[in-house]
Structures are given as structure tokens and as C-alpha cells.
């Protein structure tokens, strides 16, 4: 219904503004309903402005900036509607070291309410985990799980 959607939209929008500013250490972001359409039909525009840059459409961002903005939106949705668990498959692949640290720090905050399973090749991300599993193919073509010491 209309009220439920607007309530969710406003809550996620305000979370997105906070989470974006915290992940990017400044700047601002916003979610806007497309002009002129009925609220129950209109799409959602994403506007972002990393610190020191112009406000623009999310498509102008770099690869790493886009991944961080997408993580910010994902976490904003979780603020409103937490998922008991979440699997993240190499979401840190495009991130530089500074952004990996910001991402894992925020992941730690959200891990109080959500169990995260993070597939990664990045050593800094591995170090931020509570438990580490390794998958090997000692026997070619067959996956085996081993528990690794952190």
C-alpha cells in the first residue's frame, strides 16, 4: 500500500544519506522518486556526490566508488529491514585499501544484527572476520572445506 511504501522509502532514504556520508567520509547522497508519476508507479533515482566532487548520477562514479555506493544502499535497506544473514561474494574486488578498511569497519557494525558470509581474496577483509573457512581442491574437481586458524 501507499503508506507502507512511503514509510519504507523515507526511512531507507534517510539511512542512505547517513551511511553514504560515513562510508565516503563526507559528501552526500539522496534517493528521489521520479518526477511527475504517481507515487505507486514511479521509479527511484540515485543521486550521489563523493567529497569534493559534483553532484551527479550514480553512473558517473568510478568502479570502486560504485561498489561503495552499492554497499551503502544495501546497508541502508538492512537498517530498515535487517536480514538474519547475508552472503557477500567478492564485493571488495574493486576497492582500494582505504575503502576495504571502511567497508570492513561498517560490516562489523552491522554484524551485531546480521550474520555475514564474506567470500574474498583480500587479506585485510580476511583479518576482519571472526571465523575463516578455506575451500580447497586437493583432489582436482572436488571441493573440500577446511577450518583455518585466524
Amino acid at each position: 500500500s501507499r503508506e507502507r511504501f512511503l514509510e519504507a522509502f523515507e526511512a531507507i532514504r534517510s539511512s542512505f544519506q547517513d551511511v553514504f556520508r560515513s562510508l565516503f567520509h563526507g559528501g552526500r547522497a539522496d534517493l528521489r522518486l521520479e518526477e511527475g508519476e504517481d507515487v505507486l508507479e514511479s521509479g527511484i533515482e540515485i543521486l550521489v556526490q563523493p567529497p569534493g566532487k559534483r553532484l551527479g548520477n550514480v553512473h558517473l562514479l568510478s568502479g570502486g566508488e560504485k561498489a561503495m555506493a552499492a554497499i551503502a544502499l544495501l546497508f541502508s535497506i538492512f537498517r530498515w529491514h535487517p536480514s538474519p544473514f547475508c552472503l557477500l561474494d567478492e564485493v571488495d574486488a574493486a576497492l582500494d585499501d582505504v575503502n576495504v578498511n571502511r567497508f570492513t569497519k561498517m560490516l562489523r557494525d552491522f554484524a551485531a544484527q546480521t550474520q555475514f558470509i564474506m567470500i574474498t581474496h583480500n587479506k585485510r577483509s580476511m583479518e576482519s572476520a571472526d571465523l575463516l573457512y578455506g575451500v580447497t581442491m586437493e583432489e582436482p574437481g572436488v571441493s573440500k572445506l577446511v577450518s583455518l586458524r585466524l
Partner: protein
């Protein structure tokens, strides 16, 4: 609700019976390219009820059944069980443990089970809705798809918010 563990057998490259226990907090999964990490994610997506082979990186659903290796023959069945604890189901508010199971045979026949008893996909979806876990709630972000949330068209983004409403 908590994800207690997942058991996988005959699913993609996991030919042996494999159990993955999940603690609270953050679990990292690491390993060389091609060793089976994303297959673990596919197993989770599959037991949550995913119906599209393409979302599991295959062309037909049978592609999820262990297809053999240099030294092993293909298997006849894939099975994944998801163990959830603290699911709120009964009217008295008490929580319980629930095991969701999905099987697929080479013949194409598929089975769903709740706590070991035969069930329909709809029953699995009911348990998941109750536990506020579902395909659309972004419980899994597949490899290379983090930017999908941003790249989706405005109308598709609306669905994401609606699902969360």
C-alpha cells in the same frame, strides 16, 4: 532467526557430504580461483528456493548436480539442507529449529522437505517469509553483482524498496 549450518552433498563441485557451521558475526570464505567458493553461495541460493538456472550460473537445473571430475563419476542427486534456529512459528511465540531441504535428481524430479517431512516449495517460502528471509531481501549478493542494485532501472529499484516495506 539464526543460520546455524548448511549441509551440502552432490551439489556442483561438493561431491562429498560437506557441513558448514556458521557462528555469529562475520565468516570469511577464502581459496584459490575455481575451488568452489561461489558454488557455496549457489547452494545457499538454491535451498532458499531459487528457480532460475541462470541465477545459479547454469543453463538447466541439472547443472547443479555434481557432474564428475577427472577421477569421479557424475552423481545422481544434489541435496542441500539449511539449519535455522530461533524461527518464530507457533502462536505461543516460542521459537524452534527448522531444517529446510531441497533435492534434485538427474531425472529432473525435485523434492522439498521441512524438518525431514516432504513439503512443497510454497511451504519453504512460508517458513522463509516468517523468518524474514527471502530471495528479494538481498540475503545473497552474487560475484560481480554488487553494482546491480545501482544499475537496476528506476522501476526495478522500486521493487527492492517495496520488498523491504
Amino acid at each position: 532467526v539464526k543460520l546455524a549450518k548448511i549441509r551440502i552433498s552432490g551439489f556442483k563441485s561438493f561431491s562429498h557430504d560437506t557441513e558448514v557451521v556458521f557462528p555469529d558475526g562475520i565468516t570469511a570464505v577464502v581459496g584459490p580461483n575455481g575451488c568452489g567458493k561461489s558454488n557455496l553461495g549457489d547452494a545457499l541460493n538454491w535451498v532458499l528456493g531459487e528457480q532460475s538456472p541462470r541465477m545459479l550460473r547454469g543453463s538447466s537445473m541439472q547443472d547443479v548436480i555434481f557432474g564428475g571430475s577427472e577421477s569421479r563419476k557424475p552423481q545422481g542427486m544434489a541435496e542441500v539442507s539449511l539449519h535455522l534456529s530461533g524461527v518464530n512459528g507457533s502462536p505461543d511465540g516460542a521459537t524452534r529449529d527448522v531444517v529446510l531441504t531441497r533435492r534434485l535428481f538427474r531425472s529432473g524430479e525435485s523434492e522439498y522437505l521441512v524438518n525431514g517431512a516432504r513439503a512443497r516449495l510454497k511451504d519453504i517460502q512460508d517458513v522463509l517469509r516468517e523468518a524474514r528471509i527471502g530471495a528479494q531481501t538481498y540475503a545473497t549478493i552474487e560475484q560481480g553483482r554488487i553494482e546491480q542494485i545501482l544499475n537496476a532501472k528506476p522501476k526495478e529499484r522500486r521493487l527492492i524498496i517495496e520488498e523491504a516495506a
